[in-house]
């Protein structure tokens, strides 16, 4: 078996005295789509942010594509990673935020080309061509020159997905990508994500969209109180939850 895309071993995260993650162990294979569900405050988003080192892991180990995240291991000791190396690791991991976080002073096109030009040192013309392709892929060709404030929430989130894809990531992280959207706009974002999943992208999605999980995900992980309570095939977990906490949660959201 080849190395999984993400391997997490007993990952813990403390904020001061507060223990948010209490030992998360899981693996995500290449091309797998994993949905993380659970009540708010259960640590889903924190775990996601640990994967691209926006949060520093307190204990345990996390590997992406076989590479330890956030630390260098030398002579049996962990050394904090210089900012430059952390930036290089993040480059290959796309992230989509609940609140989009598009750059408001740049147009949709400039939002997408910014990182390829500055970080990957691509030629501007090449980056623009690629950005136009990506805008077409998310169905927003005609919005290239619009500023984020002139786009609807769903359109902004689709631009944000295109922005992440422009770095040709090997892994995409979605942090409640549809939670800030009006109900009628959720579908257009989920459609783009389904298309991505069909294209073989490895994805970890924190979501409350159980329909999406059932239809698209290969695996479903239910978290509560900083631990993984239950995981498995989405259909099985959703229709036949084994744990009391999973049952209670699902009865509220389904």
């Amino acid at each position: 078996m080849s190395e999984p895309m993400v391997r997490s071993e007993l990952v813990c995260k403390n904020f001061g005295a507060l223990r948010v993650l209490k030992g998360i162990s899981l693996t995500v294979d290449r091309g797998e789509v994993m949905c993380l569900v659970g009540p708010s405050g259960s640590g889903k988003s924190t775990f996601l942010r640990c994967i691209n080192h926006l949060e520093q892991v307190t204990a345990g180990r996390l590997w992406v594509d076989g590479e330890l995240i956030g630390y260098h291991e030398r002579g049996g000791k962990l050394h904090e990673m210089p900012a430059k190396d952390a930036a290089r690791q993040r480059r290959d991991i796309g992230m989509v935020f609940q609140k989009f976080n598009l750059f408001p002073h740049l147009t949709a096109l400039e939002n997408i080309t910014e990182a390829p030009i500055r970080v990957k040192k691509q030629k501007k013309a090449a980056a623009v061509d690629r950005a136009r392709e990506l805008l077409a892929q998310v169905g927003l060709s005609e919005k290239a020159k619009a500023y984020p404030a002139q786009l609807s929430g769903g359109q902004q989130q689709r631009v944000a997905i295109a922005r992440a894809l422009a770095m040709d990531p090997k892994l995409m992280l979605f942090d409640e990508p549809t939670s800030a959207l009006d109900p009628e706009l959720v579908g257009e974002v989920l459609d783009v994500m389904k298309e991505l999943a069909r294209g073989g992208m490895t994805m970890i999605v924190v979501t409350h969209e159980m329909g999406f999980a059932r239809e698209v995900a290969d695996s479903l992980v239910f978290m509560d109180g900083g631990v993984v309570v239950e995981s498995g095939k989405p259909r099985e977990v959703l229709s036949n939850p084994q744990h009391e906490r999973t049952k209670t949660f699902l009865s509220k959201v389904l």
Partner: protein
């Protein structure tokens, strides 16, 4: 549910007219043409202000103390315009230094390094807490306090000695004095700007693999500029006028000191004060215009409202779309 559609008439019990169901626009009602309210208070206030203004202008024009002919004579005097040039160069150099130092101090203040943080705070505390006039007098005395600058290894060996008297003219002492004082105010303005940018912006940039420097230059600072520019414009205009205090250093070639010195020729300081004021107002007006354009540039993307060019592009797209539909 009680939903009434214009023209549907079902609420009133009358049968709806054919073709006037939901979704059909009713004929627009007549525009309101009401008799406007009388506002005598407004008229009285306006007339009163205009009369007072006229009396003031008439008084100023006919009062010999203003000596308008001397004003006209000295307004474009070579010596005055040259002094105005000194004032302008002092303003620009001091502001430039103040902004650069201010950005450095703001970044130091926000840094996780406690030493940098506290040094920045201490700097601010001192330069904001003492009067600029006192600071300028101090800078004038600096060449007495520090007679020479020694280059080398402290306490061990010095290989060069530079006399401060030769290095620092009064002009540069004035620039330094103004710039250091300004840096304390600019640091607070820049800090307010940086902290006004949403944390998510920094996270999104880092998630894309951008370095700290790239994130600052390309993402955070351009957005902070919207908050930074208006108070900085204030500071610039304020600096223009503060240069009149450098007589404390003492530098006397700038606008205010020079016009004051020239009043020995007119035996009347009043027209010379007016000459100086006219030049200050001229520069202020130019700076305000510059600020307007700068603010417009950094406001891009801040509003949902589209620019004329964007609206035109959309209209063009609509037109070609329609054409395609026709063919």
């Amino acid at each position: 549910m009680a939903v009434s559609h214009p023209g549907a008439g079902s609420e009133a019990g009358t049968p709806p007219e054919p073709g006037a169901g939901p979704g059909v626009e009713a004929a627009a009602p007549e525009l309101i043409q009401a008799v406007p309210l009388r506002r005598p208070g407004r008229w009285i206030a306006a007339v009163l202000v205009v009369v007072l203004l006229f009396l003031f202008i008439y008084g100023a024009a006919t009062n010999p103390a203003y000596d308008w002919s001397a004003f006209g004579h000295y307004l474009f005097d070579k010596r005055v315009s040259k002094a105005a040039g000194v004032t302008l160069s002092l303003t620009v150099l001091a502001m430039f230094g103040g902004i650069i130092l201010g950005v450095v101090l703001a970044v130091m203040r926000l840094s996780p390094n406690p030493v940098l943080k506290w040094v920045s705070f201490g700097w601010l505390w001192f330069f904001r807490g003492t009067p600029i006039y006192v600071q300028l007098v101090f800078w004038g005395l600096v060449v007495v306090i520090y007679k020479q600058i020694d280059l080398g290894i402290p306490f061990v060996h010095q290989f060069a000695h530079i006399s401060t008297q030769n290095l620092l003219t009064v002009y540069w002492l004035a620039v330094i004095g103004l710039a250091l004082n300004e840096s304390a105010y600019m640091a607070e303005i820049v800090r307010a700007g940086l902290t006004s940018v949403d944390e998510g912006q920094d996270e999104a940039a880092r998630a894309l693999g951008m370095s700290w420097g790239q994130t600052m230059r390309r993402i955070v600072l351009p957005q902070a500029m919207r908050v930074i520019i208006p108070p900085t414009g204030n500071e610039l205009i304020s600096m223009l006028k503060t240069t009149s205090l450098v007589t404390a250093v003492p530098l006397t070639t700038e606008l205010y000191s020079r016009t004051r010195d020239l009043s020995v020729e007119t035996f009347n300081p009043i027209p010379m004060l007016l000459v100086a004021s006219a030049w200050y107002l001229f520069f202020t007006s130019v700076l305000m215009t510059g600020q307007f354009y700068l603010e417009r540039y950094f406001a891009r993307g801040a509003s949902r409202k589209m620019s004329g060019r964007q609206l035109q592009a959309l209209a063009d797209a609509q037109a070609t779309g329609n054409q395609r539909g026709l063919i």
